[in-house]
């Protein structure tokens, strides 16, 4: 009896460990590759942990000119000519992702409140929002390229912000709706009975209660925006560069894809997301009961 319990525990733990290995392997491989010298990027058999760690890949990401000189000294072993700059890409991604996330969450909160409290659009309205996400983005890319070029939005920050806001809004509404749904209308009722307008009741009573939910949604939307590739690719032409585009830029004519450099860029670009997640983690906990109202 006791014996079987131990076996069940062992099996469960093993399953968890295997799942964790599968989940963390790409991250491990990304980081490991980012420190490998050129010869080991795609060698066979694979090198799990390099014996010759180098910062060369990071140097290329952050200081492309220095890296180029270095490469010349190494007598042209590798053509390090890459287009674009990581700095520009980080700036572009930061502007677009932050602004688009802000719009998405702001409009999402207002729309969700309206849907929950005023039953705006009727019962099926929230589902209609989700249908936007049922269309694979690739299907709307061509019309969007045409539309954006007519509207002169191609290759602008505003254009990408607009596209990202539109495509993440359904998620924002859907997620925030569930948080607002958990706040009893009676709490706002109390505020209104005591002389507050509905807007003031929303701002003073409901908003503080759903703050954690809104921040969690913001993190989710930020990750979507930060890692978006397709729209960034087709709606820009060099003026606006995002992190994901820059990863794809690390290609050389003679050597093909620069896996090590791409890995370095990838590693660096996950840092802002981790930082954002770390900063808001104490708000993400949703264990607190909102009101004294039984559901």
């Amino acid at each position: 009896m006791h014996q079987t319990k131990i076996w069940v525990t062992v099996l469960k733990r093993t399953a968890v460990i295997i799942a964790a290995i599968i989940a963390f392997f790409p991250i491990y491989w990304l980081i490991a590759t980012s420190f490998k010298p050129f010869e080991e990027w795609a060698s066979w058999p694979p090198i799990w942990l390099t014996d010759n760690p180098t910062l060369q890949n990071y140097r290329i990401v952050f200081f492309p000119d220095m890296a180029r000189e270095f490469a010349t000294q190494q007598s042209g072993s590798l053509d390090y000519k890459v287009s674009g700059s990581a700095w520009k890409a980080f700036k572009g991604s930061a502007i677009i992702s932050i602004v688009a996330t802000f719009f998405s969450v702001t409009f999402g909160t207002l729309a969700a409140y309206s849907i929950v409290r005023f039953n705006t659009g009727g019962k099926n309205y929230p589902f209609q929002f989700l249908t936007v996400r049922m269309v694979p983005p690739i299907a709307v890319v061509v019309p969007m390229v045409v539309l954006f070029s007519i509207l002169k939005l191609s290759d602008t920050y505003f254009g990408l912000i607009l596209a990202y806001t539109a495509f993440t809004l359904p998620f924002s509404i859907w997620m925030i709706r569930s948080f607002i749904d958990d706040v009893p209308a009676e709490l706002e009722g109390v505020a209104m009975i005591h002389g507050m307008t509905q807007l003031r009741a929303f701002l003073t009573v409901t908003l503080p209660l759903v703050k954690g939910g809104i921040l969690s949604t913001a993190l989710f939307i930020f990750i979507l925006n930060w890692s978006e590739f397709l729209f960034a690719l087709v709606l820009t032409a060099g003026n606006v560069v995002t992190v994901t585009l820059q990863v794809a830029n690390y290609v050389s004519a003679s050597s093909g894809k620069l896996y090590g450099v791409q890995a370095a860029m990838g590693t660096v670009s996950t840092l802002p997301v981790i930082l954002f997640g770390y900063l808001i983690q104490r708000h993400i906990v949703r264990g607190l009961t909102f009101g004294a109202v039984k559901r």
């Binding site: 009676e186 209104m192 009975i193 005591h194 002389g195 009961t289 004294a292 109202v293 039984k294």
Partner: protein, 371 residues
């Protein structure tokens, strides 16, 4: 002529109707509530009483009709300007705020001066016995404490009219009994006008000056608790009020040359006074404790057999076979056992006669006076 302040009408609702998606929740209610009066809106769940409350508070807009406070129509005034207090069924305490912050909430929202705020809050904390709880968080309170906090939070703003939506439905029976007296006492002390929504007849009976019985979106009768109990005007009111359920026996009224007579299955030709009404078949409503019961036959009694004895503690309820119908009779404990023969009679002045076609009730003795 100016009405005296004490009798001024605080709340009036006129032909109030509310239709939700084609379903009529409130069907043209009329009601007046005098200043300082305690009126209960009593009815089963889904009868429209909470909707009526929401219409008065302003959370819902009526389909038609009017709500007036102090004679002024407020139907189109938003909730926050109505100066009506409301305690929700689930209290809606701000769980993250302390009790004191909860009490201060309304006064802060109304931008009352700080000194006055503190003074009022201290006064009502004292009145409702919250002094020991002022620094507790809302989430640490039990149901009865929440109820007090919710009540204090609204009373502290001195509302023109206080609406209470089933405020005791979350409390257990013992607590309810003690709070009924307390709530009534506070209401009297403050001369607070109260509209109390409940489905519990004991709450309504024990606290109210007036009871409005509601069913299916209609207010069926507004009367004092005494008259609601003794003189129900419809079958619904008669059966909704009172424990055990009022007896409804079949009976027939017929006239002879010199008298109007009433016969039930067991009692024959009881004499009704003239001018009472028409001949025909009726239901005779009689409450269990209005029936006289003896071991030996007495004037006007008929013999019946005890089928079942129900123990209410302080009283027993006999289920007896009356004709081929069942009837309940209230007796003191130990009066009779199952299978016993007892004798029962009742006075026609305690009887409600229900017209089966309309479910309206005629009261023989009341009509006698006018005849």
């Amino acid at each position: 002529m100016i009405q005296s302040n004490a009798n001024a009408i605080k709340l009036e609702i006129r032909d109030l109707r509310k239709v939700f998606d084609g379903a009529e929740a409130v069907k043209g209610s009329n009601l007046t509530l005098k200043r300082g009066e305690f009126l209960s809106l009593l009815g089963p769940s889904g009868c429209g009483k909470s909707t009526t409350l929401a219409l008065i508070a302003g959370f819902l807009e009526p389909t038609s009709g009017e709500v007036l406070i102090d004679g002024n129509p407020i139907t189109h005034i938003p909730v926050q300007k109505r100066r009506i207090g409301l305690v929700f069924q689930d209290y809606a305490i701000f769980t993250k705020l302390s009790v004191k912050q909860n009490l201060l909430f309304g006064l802060e929202a109304q931008k009352v001066r700080r000194v006055e705020r503190e003074k009022s809050v201290a006064e009502f904390a004292e009145k409702l016995g919250l002094n020991g709880l002022m620094n507790n968080r809302g989430s640490d309170l039990n149901m009865s404490e929440m109820q007090r906090v919710a009540l204090a939070r609204v009373l502290v703003t001195k509302p023109e009219l206080l609406l209470l939506d089933e405020p005791m439905s979350n409390l257990d029976a013992a607590l309810r009994a003690s709070l009924r007296g307390e709530l009534k006492q506070i209401q009297k002390d403050l001369e607070q006008t109260v509209l109390y929504v409940t489905h519990d007849q004991i709450e309504a009976m024990s606290m109210s000056d007036q009871i409005a019985v509601m069913n299916n979106g209609n207010i069926l009768q507004i009367d004092s608790p005494e008259d609601i109990y003794r003189r129900p005007q419809s079958r619904f009111v008669a059966e909704f009020i009172g424990e055990p359920l009022i007896n409804m026996m079949s009976c027939e009224v017929f006239s002879t040359s010199d008298a109007l007579l009433l016969s039930t299955q067991a009692h024959k030709e009881m004499r009704l006074q003239r001018g009472w009404g028409e001949s025909g078949k009726y239901l005779l409503g009689i409450r269990s404790h209005h029936i006289t019961v003896e071991h030996e036959p007495f004037s006007g009694s008929v013999g019946v057999i005890v089928k079942l004895v129900e123990n209410y503690g302080s009283e027993h309820v006999l289920h007896v076979i009356y004709g081929d119908e069942s009837m309940t009779v209230m007796v003191s404990p130990g009066f009779a056992r199952e299978g016993d023969n007892v004798h029962v009679a009742f006075d026609l002045k305690d009887v409600s006669l229900v017209d089966p076609a309309t479910d309206q009730i005629h009261h023989p003795d009341k009509l006698d006076e006018t005849a």
